[in-house]
Structure formats: C-alpha cells, structure tokens
Symmetry: C2
Subunit: 386 residues, 2 copies
C-alpha cells in the first residue's frame, strides 16, 4: 500500500521517488529530496544526462535497481510531459505522479483526452493520482550542471490539481494534492494554488511576456555597433538578462501556451503601433501626451510588482557605498553594516566597462537609512543616500 | 582671460562653475565638482529645486553672489537645453558651455540654426565654446534628492563636439573638447567619443528601446490579477525595473530622438507581428523554427552586451550561498570569501515573496570558483555551484 494515498503524516514519511527527466529541474529536485532523506532514483532518455545527474548527487540510476516508486516526478520537456505522465500512471498503478512543466492546461487537456479514449490504457481513475505543478524557478542556464538543491528555496511553486475542463470538478485526490504541497514545501518553495487555465494566463503575463520582451530587445543588438554597446549600463543588462535562455526549451513553452500569449501579444503590438504613430509626429496634438501616458502606465504596472517577501518594490530606502574592486571590500562594508545592526534587504553592484571602482547599493528599511548612512560615514565609508 | 581657452593643465586648474538646472544630474555634478575643489554656483528656474540642491551640498546659489563662471554646465530638460546653452554662450562670452542632455542631435541642430540666423545674437564663433555631452548615469529616481556626487563613477560619459551637420567640420575648439573630457574624468566617468547622430542612434538602441520595452511590459501588469503578480520572480523584476522612470523626462527624451527610434520601433513591431502570426498557429510548418529563431537571436544579441569592466556577460562563474535573512549574514559570507582571497565580481540576491531565507549569488573568475566553493563549504556554508 502506497503511503501517499493518505494525507502527509506531519513530515515523517519519506516516499521513494523516481525523477523522470534529469535536466535543471529534475536534477535539482533529486538533490533537494535526497538532502531531505528521500530515496531518489533517476531516469532520462539521455544516458549522458542521467549519468551527470547521478554524478552531481541527484540520486541513483533507476536502471541500476528497480524499486517501485511511491512518487514519480515527471520533469520532462513540456511537449512530452503528458506522454511521460500517462506512462508513469499506467506503469506504476499505486504511485502518485507530479509533473513540473511550465505550462499546465495543454498537459491536462492531453491527459483528459487519453483518459476519455477507450483505446488508451489510461483512465479517469488514474488521473486521481496526478497533480500538475509548476515550480517558478527557471534560470537563464539549463541542464543538470546548473542544478542545485536550493533552486526552489523561497520560490513560488504553483499546484494545479487536475479538474474536468467543462464542469470544473476536481479529479486529483485530496491526498495527492496534499502530497504535492508537501513535496514543494520540503524543497523550500512557497505553495500557490491555481487551476491550469489561470496558471497559464498568469505565466503568459509575468513570465512568458518578459522572456519575449528580453529576446526582442536583445535580438536588435545583434548588428549594433560595438561603440554603441560600450555605452550599455545596468538598464540594458537588466532588460536583456532573460534573453540568454535556452531556445529549445522556450519554443516548447511558448508554443504550448499560445492561446493566452497571443492575447497578450496583440496588446503589445497595439501599444507599439500607437507609439510608432505618435513618434512619427511627436509634435502633433496629443503626441506628447500619448508618450507620457505609456511611461505613466508603466509606472503603475511596475508599482504592482512585488519585491522581496512580497513587499512593494519601493518600500526600501537605498544608499550606496563606494568600494574599490578588490577582495574584502564588500565584506568590509557589510561587516560595518552588521555592526550597526541594520539588515540589508537587497543589494546590487553598480559599475560599467573600463573602471575598477564600484558602488554597492544597499536597500534597507526606510526608518534605518539615516542612522546607517551616518554610522558608515563615521566609519570612513563614502556613502551616498538616494 | 578664461583658463579654459587653453588645454587642461595636468589637473591643476579648478574653473569656477555655474550649474544651470539642479535636477538629478545638475545636483550630482555640483556635489562631485565641489568635492574636487571647484567653486560651484547653482541656478534653476524653480527656487525650490535650487534651494534643495544647495542644501544637499551641490553648491552656493548663483543669485547670492554673481561671479562670472569659466564653465557653465547646462543640466536642463532636453527640450529647453538649446535655449539654455544659447543664453549661456551669449551672456558669458568667455565661458565654456557644456550640456548633459540625453539627446544630442536635436540640441545641436537648434543651436546651428540659431547661429546661422542673423536675427539671433548667437554666432558660429560662439559655438566654438560649446560641447555636447551625455553622462549615461540616469536612474529610475529623479530630482535633486536622488543626487549623489558619485553618480558618474565608472559610468560612460559621451563627448559629442559640435560639428557642421553637412560638412562634418568640427566647430567646438580643441580646448573646449579637452575640458569637457577633463570634467567627465574628474567626476569619475569613462569618456567615449561620438558625433551627435551616432550618439542618438546608439542610445535609441541601448537606452531608449530598453526603457520602452520595460514600460510596455509593465503597463500590461496594470490590470493583472494579484494572484498572478504573486508569482513574479527576478525575471519580471529585471525586465520592468526601468519602468519606474519619470514620464515628464522621458516624453522629452523620446520625442527629441524620434527619428532613430521610429526605425528601431518598426523593427520591433515587425518582430512582434511575425511572432503573433507564428503563435496563432504554432504547429504550422516552420512555426516552431520561427519561435526558436527569435530566442536564438536574443541569445546572440545578449552575448554582445558587455558586463562589468567591459567583460563579456558570461565570463564569470557563479556560486550561490544560502543565508538567513538577518543582519550580518551576507557580511559573514563575504568575510569568508575575502579570507579565501577571491574577488567578488558581481553579486545579487535571489528571493521571492513569503520567505525569510535567501541566496546570495556571487560571480567570480571561473578559475577561482571551485577553490572558493570548497573553502566556503568547509567553513560551514551551504554552497551551490552552477
């Protein structure tokens, strides 16, 4: 009897886990669950990928000792995820099966179609053991080498129980959903609940659109003069950071989420069109107002993006400290900050090409800013408040 | 005789400076030049703004004691910059005049038109004392309160000597150009040379397009469900950071640089159109290849964005260290890093809503990564290499 058919038991049980697919997410899950005491087995169509995952400590190879898993985590590319989930549900008729693909509705739709097809071995009852999930922990890097057990630490992990798409009736069993939440929590993530369609339209906006925008901006730099690129600052670096992402993964994600994305892209296209018309005659009546409105609407949207710990983005006060670019300087600053007893909520380095001096920008609670600035200045640091 | 009519004298001379316009840039220039030993006077059409700039140490008020400046820095909004430069050149017939507006060709065009208009007091000879410049040091914040003398430290500062727009013949005198470079260097900036048109098409691509993209993405978040925004990660935060910029400033910058920007925006619009067509039928022949090509082109462009000290963006190895969110933790990590003797080239914090544990991601030279990871692990830190 699989213990996962009952609700989690106060964190005592450590189910045997098969991780199917050992890329960045699968290997990271393996590392994290092993650290939490689970027996983790790995399996990947690529024998190289599974060997690398084993070598970095994500688990033993499944093929080296067949034990029936109690939990299967499918961490496959989006377009083969439904295949892999269906295969796991039928091959291991006791096991709970989770997937971690970045799109949820396409996977669910395909699983339901199979379950309702009498020719297929999969049944609706099998789907009671399935829960769709999405750990929001991708990186610009990919593959098992980039894996880390703490990839999910403090990141959102969305749980999307299977449900009938017309009636909305829940299919995933309560125990299966509770175990999905338990696994996400054991990996340090923050659990969020959504249905598959809500998930997909949410990520279209907050994950896929930023990826597309970063790629669109970066692609325009391909033929830019080197002299222009030499002027690049943190603004361009921030906007284009995501553009380093893996094309093979993203083509699957974007293709599988095309319906909500097309809506978002139509809105984007209309805004670009309007901006072009305005910019072609910026001195025409209303032209400047149109431009100002775009920037102001951006202000409003930006103000809604949560910062650290869900705080609004501008709730921290900032101060900058000048440092030389040599070992120990940043540590020395932060030592002194710690001595004052102020917590650093966020920090970043500010620098550009051709210089060996930098600034460390510290975000602190507004009520502590002045005290910290005064104390650091007294300790001999060059401090700039903003 | 104004010493600025001759070349800089090995950094000995400290010209008397009038800063006209005391927003973020003007006040920061005042603070920086005073720290370098200059007598700085401030003037702004807003008596509040100039009083704030004086109070934060940017200089004395011009109206409190009229001394003829040897150098005038016009730090006015882009659309009044040419007016202010012309006024300064005619009022102070010995002074060198720099402007720091983010667009250069529109300012130059207006100054040349005035110089060639017999009704105007400005002459071509006056323009020998003018140099257009652009310190690339804007921030999402604006106004004198955000000012800091070190705003320009290690940032690019573009010098665009005045030149005839048809013949290309240089108008700014060699001494004026040399002094513009000297002032930028004294403020800690890295000097770049371009003509006005090259500057404007460069910033259209590497500064104005990222601003527009950030505003476009952020504006789509205005009506997003809170549940969707709760999933936001560093990707969305990075892409939308610039969207917090000032609409009043940006409407002037974008309007004044409309010609190169319209070109860039046409390219962006065409790419969005192509993506929409592809996404409307992602399974059509060539559909997936089109999506993959967009992401791959983004990879290529991103790879050209210089990192710190002009290094390519991916030349540093990264490792992450888990820290508790309390005072002294980050300092303690960096202390130990310093003890190992490895320099931190860049760092960022990785976190999301609802958690009190974070990761500090450290970028180091690839050759030092393993040594550092091993040493930190031995010191008891939880280290993840990527």
């Amino acid at each position: 009897m699989n213990p996962l058919t009952t609700l989690p038991d106060d964190g005592r049980s450590r189910p045997r886990v098969l991780v199917r697919g050992t890329g960045l997410l699968g290997a990271s899950i393996g590392i994290g669950l092993r650290a939490d005491g689970h027996d983790v087995r790995l399996s990947d169509p690529s024998s190289t990928a599974q060997a690398v995952a084993r070598d970095i400590g994500a688990g033993a190879l499944w093929e080296d000792g067949l034990v029936d898993p109690e939990l299967v985590v499918v961490a496959a590319p989006p377009e083969v995820t439904a295949d892999e989930v269906a295969a796991a549900l039928t091959r291991f008729p006791q096991a709970l099966v989770l997937d971690v693909a970045s799109v949820k509705d396409a996977v669910l739709r395909e699983l339901l179609a199979r379950a309702d097809d009498a020719e297929e071995p999969l049944s609706r009852e099998d789907l009671e053991r399935y829960v769709g999930t999405h750990p929001m922990a991708g990186r610009e890097q990919s593959g098992p080498v980039a894996a880390r057990g703490a990839l999910f630490t403090s990141m959102p992990w969305v749980i999307c129980p299977a449900a009938d798409r017309s009636t909305g009736e829940r299919i995933s069993s309560p125990a299966a959903v509770a175990w999905a939440e338990e696994i996400a929590s054991r990996l340090g993530a923050t659990v969020h609940h959504m249905d598959a369609a809500e998930h997909d339209s949410s990520v279209a906006l907050i994950s896929h659109l930023p990826q597309i925008a970063a790629s669109l901006v970066a692609s325009r730099l391909q033929d830019a003069p080197t002299t222009a690129l030499a002027l690049a600052g943190n603004g361009l670096r921030d906007v284009t950071r995501l553009a380093a992402s893996d094309p093979n993964l993203w083509v699957q994600i974007l293709a599988a989420n095309s319906v909500p994305l097309v809506d978002v892209l139509h809105g984007l296209r209309d805004d670009v069109e309007r901006l072009i018309r305005t910019m072609e005659a910026p001195e025409a009546p209303g032209g400047r107002a149109d431009i100002a409105q775009l920037i102001a609407e951006g202000n409003s949207g930006r103000a809604r993006v949560p910062g650290k710990h869900g705080a609004p983005p501008q709730s921290f006060a900032k101060l900058a400290v000048i440092v030389d670019d040599r070992p120990g300087q940043i540590a020395a600053v932060l030592d002194d900050v710690a001595a004052v007893g102020v917590n650093v909520e966020d920090m970043r380095m500010d620098h550009s090409a051709g210089h060996e001096v930098g600034m460390v920008e510290l975000s602190v609670l507004p009520g502590r800013q002045q005290e910290l600035a005064d104390a650091l200045a007294e300790m001999g640091w060059k401090v700039i408040q903003s």
